[in-house]
């Protein structure tokens, strides 16, 4: 029966070719192989987000008068609603953490080298989209902290030269954070960003399958010297390994969801006093803290504008890494790129911790 079904599909979809590709596909095994799984874990967490997000959609109501109550209903009345909401919140954070780990592991292993520039660019875009998911999703429960954090966060866009005011109004759907912002963020969160993710993630995965796994320069050097780098079959070895890591991520997620449930807090009230300790989610904290430290005016320019422009330049440089790292096309370590990467990691960790302690 199964064979008949396979034959029927094969006749129409050429599954034999795909099966042959998977059967022949191998993955290099070396001492840095563990970093390959970071992308897999990130992909798994995207899957968790999609599944839990769809379930939340069944009960969530995107309006200023009902959003908070609907989330309250989900966590208190809906069967396993608490689990779904906690998984969604924790998975979102783990997803961004793993996306950063994946990005920096790719960076330090120089996996963006030719011909994988497009994989890198789609990856960086996906990281930014994930942060966009985080920013838009944070507001959706319509609680006090999220409301004021969004007010601050969207306000920062106003520092952009020329387009600042437009950006603020575009993001908020008006001059201030209101119910219009909530419905706007909802649309971005459940339609626009998922559509972009589908396209980019599809491209990203297709490129990986098409080009195979990159090996670090040191391994490549050994390979060029004539050494045979061990390979393992993609299926079932690598896939099983990947799945094993997914289970580990699932266990961590489940434990976090139960023991550290995501607080709902108080319902947003535009007329309430701004609560103490307003700060963005941890993945924006380093940038937020940096903006706080920049003086109001630097060399006649507005400090906040310079900070925001600095982040934009950093983002552009991040996209251009594969093209900037051209001094050593043979794969030798480029000390400046490594140094820049180390500085970026140290900066992000130190300023994130500083942001927590300062708040």
């Amino acid at each position: 029966m199964t064979e008949q079904l396979f034959a029927w599909l094969d006749e129409r979809l050429d599954l034999s070719g795909l099966r042959a590709f998977v059967a022949e596909k191998t993955v290099p095994v070396h001492r840095h192989s563990v970093w390959y799984y970071m992308g897999g874990i990130t992909l798994f967490l995207v899957g968790v987000q999609v599944a839990t997000g769809i379930l939340l959609l069944l009960y969530y109501r995107p309006s200023a008068s009902e959003a908070y109550e609907s989330v309250q209903f989900i966590v208190s009345q809906v069967e396993f609603g608490w689990l779904i909401r906690n998984l969604h919140s924790w998975s979102a954070n783990l997803l961004i953490l793993m996306a950063f780990v994946h990005l920096f592991s790719t960076f330090f292993l120089r996996a963006y080298r030719k011909p994988r520039e497009l994989t890198w660019i789609t990856g960086v875009l996906l990281l930014f989209i994930m942060m966009g998911f985080g920013f838009s999703g944070y507001l959706l429960p319509w609680n006090e902290l999220a409301f004021f954090a969004t007010k601050v966060g969207t306000g920062i866009a106003g520092a952009l030269p020329f387009v600042g005011d437009f950006m603020v109004r575009f993001l908020r759907g008006g001059d201030d954070v209101t119910g219009a912002t909530l419905t706007r963020f909802y649309g971005i969160h459940v339609a626009i960003l998922p559509a972009m993710t589908t396209a980019l993630l599809g491209t990203h995965l297709l490129l990986i399958q098409r080009q195979g796994m990159s090996v670090p320069p040191s391994v490549e050097k050994r390979e060029k010297a004539g050494e045979t780098i061990p390979q393992e079959p993609f299926f079932p070895n690598y896939v099983l390994h990947d799945v094993m890591w997914w289970y580990v991520a699932l266990a961590v997620l489940a434990a976090l969801a139960l023991f550290l449930p995501w607080e709902l807090g108080k319902k947003a009230d535009a007329f309430a006093a701004v609560p103490a300790g307003i700060r963005p989610e941890w993945y924006f904290l380093a940038m937020f803290q940096t903006l706080k430290l920049i003086p109001s005016h630097v060399l006649g320019f507005e400090g906040e504008m310079l900070g925001v422009m600095g982040f934009n330049v950093a983002a552009v440089l991040l996209f251009l890494v594969p093209f900037l790292d051209r001094k050593n096309p043979d794969g030798r370590q480029n000390p400046f790129i490594t140094f820049a990467g180390v500085v970026a990691v140290v900066y992000l960790i130190v300023f994130t911790i500083y942001g927590y302690l300062a708040a």
């Binding site: 079932p236 070895n237 094993m244 289970y247 580990v248 489940a254 434990a255 139960l258 023991f259």
Partner: protein, 422 residues
């Protein structure tokens, strides 16, 4: 809180205006001859009026001058001529003359409408009914007149925080005289006992003073809210419940239904005191040592039984609320959403407040009905709190089982991968 008596104070904010001389004045006048001469006086008592009137003064701001209250000719440089009888010079008004001078304008509705149309114009009439006014009529010149409270020169609006009759300054202004034992010597209460001078000391210990000074509640009562201002007098026996009831309406209504309202000479004051009203507590009710009921009731009488019953039921609801709050907090700490239950407990606390109010009718039945409603709420919250804690336990068991299963799969996968590599 009755704020309207304070508005009456506002009605007397202008200390001395002569109706015929001043109504046309509308702009601050330049210094007159009176001010020039008085300003140069070495004697502080003579220089002060000129100095004070030159500062902030509501009358001067509206164009009134010295002549409007004192008469005289400000254009005359010779002192004798300036104060000649033909100029209508009155000198320094005192006693009934102060009332007459002030009320010339302040009792003139047509005139006052031009300056402060919302102000009342019956201050002088009210004053005549006050203990101050009655004593003055008997020839007692030590009593307070308009200027004693509002000042004569440098008069400020009642809403001005520096005015002696601004709500926060009323107690200080009244007790300038009433806390002065020498000044109060010889004055008696209706029962023949000497008029006490410890009102302010007592008031400062009261819940009303705390509400005003610590709680920044400017509607909290001060002297004039209970005694009146222009018609200041102690509330008479039988009027106390009405006076307290202007703010504590429900308590007064309940108290009026009680047997106590027929028995207590001093109604509310019998249990709560007057100037030193303390924060009421449940300990005031019942038959134990701290309870006030034992002042009149003896063990076993109907009042004692009622007090015991009401107190024990109140304590029961307090304990139930406390227990439910702990349960809800425990469930919340475990990550359960307990918003509805927290809200229900607030309603139970409302029932407790309602019972404490109902208690003033001193009838255990309606008190019990309210408390039972509160206990019904706490019972429901307890049941939901227990269910939430059971749910927490269920979730933890579920997690342990799931983690065990996941771990098994991870181990199985690791073994499989190892066998494949081998």
């Amino acid at each position: 809180m009755a704020t309207w008596p304070r508005n009456f104070l506002f009605a007397a904010l202008v200390g001395g205006v002569l109706a015929s001389a001043a109504p046309a004045a509308a702009q601050a006048a330049p210094p007159s001859g009176c001010q020039t001469c008085h300003g140069d006086q070495a004697q502080p008592a003579l220089a002060a009026p000129a100095r004070d009137f030159a500062g902030t003064d509501v009358h001067r701001d509206r164009g009134f001058t010295c002549v409007d209250c004192h008469g005289g000719n400000p254009n005359e440089t010779d002192k004798a001529k300036a104060k000649a009888p033909a100029t209508g010079f009155k000198g320094k008004p005192a006693g009934q003359m102060v009332i007459a001078v002030c009320s010339r304008c302040h009792s003139d509705a047509a005139l006052m409408r031009k300056y402060a149309p919302k102000q009342r114009v019956d201050q002088a009439v009210e004053y005549a009914t006050s203990v101050h006014g009655q004593q003055l009529a008997k020839g007692d010149t030590k009593v307070a007149t308009c200027v004693s409270c509002h000042g004569a020169h440098g008069v400020r609006l009642v809403g001005d925080a520096q005015s002696p009759v601004y709500v926060l300054n009323v107690a200080t202004t009244c007790t300038k005289c009433h806390a002065d034992a020498d000044r109060m010597k010889g004055y008696m209460l209706p029962d023949g006992s000497p008029l006490p001078t410890d009102q302010r000391a007592k008031y400062e210990k009261s819940v009303h003073h705390a509400a005003m000074v610590k709680g920044n509640d400017l509607s909290a009562p001060t002297c004039n809210d209970c005694h009146g201002n222009h018609g200041a007098a102690p509330p008479g026996v039988g009027a106390i419940a009405n006076v307290c009831g202007t703010c504590h309406t429900v308590f007064a209504t309940k108290f009026a239904l009680s047997t106590h309202s027929q028995i207590f000479d001093r109604s509310c004051v019998e249990c709560h005191g007057n100037h030193d009203i303390a924060e009421p507590t449940d300990a005031m009710l019942g038959t134990d040592k701290a309870a006030l009921c034992t002042n009149c009731h003896t063990e076993g009488d109907n009042g004692s039984k009622a007090a015991t019953a009401m107190r024990s039921e109140i304590e029961k609801l307090k304990e139930a609320i406390s227990h439910s709050q702990a349960l809800v907090a425990s469930a919340e700490n475990a990550g359960m959403e307990m918003g509805e239950q927290s809200l229900a407990l607030r309603e139970a606390a409302n029932q407790l407040t309602l019972a404490r109010t109902e208690m003033h009718a001193f009838d255990p039945k309606p008190v019990s009905a309210v408390l039972q409603a509160g206990l019904g709420i706490t019972a429901k919250v307890d049941s939901e709190g227990q269910a939430a804690l059971a749910e927490v336990s269920y979730r933890r068991t579920g997690l342990a089982v799931s983690l065990g299963a996941i771990l098994l799969v991870v181990v199985a996968l690791a073994l499989k991968i190892r066998s494949l590599r081998a």
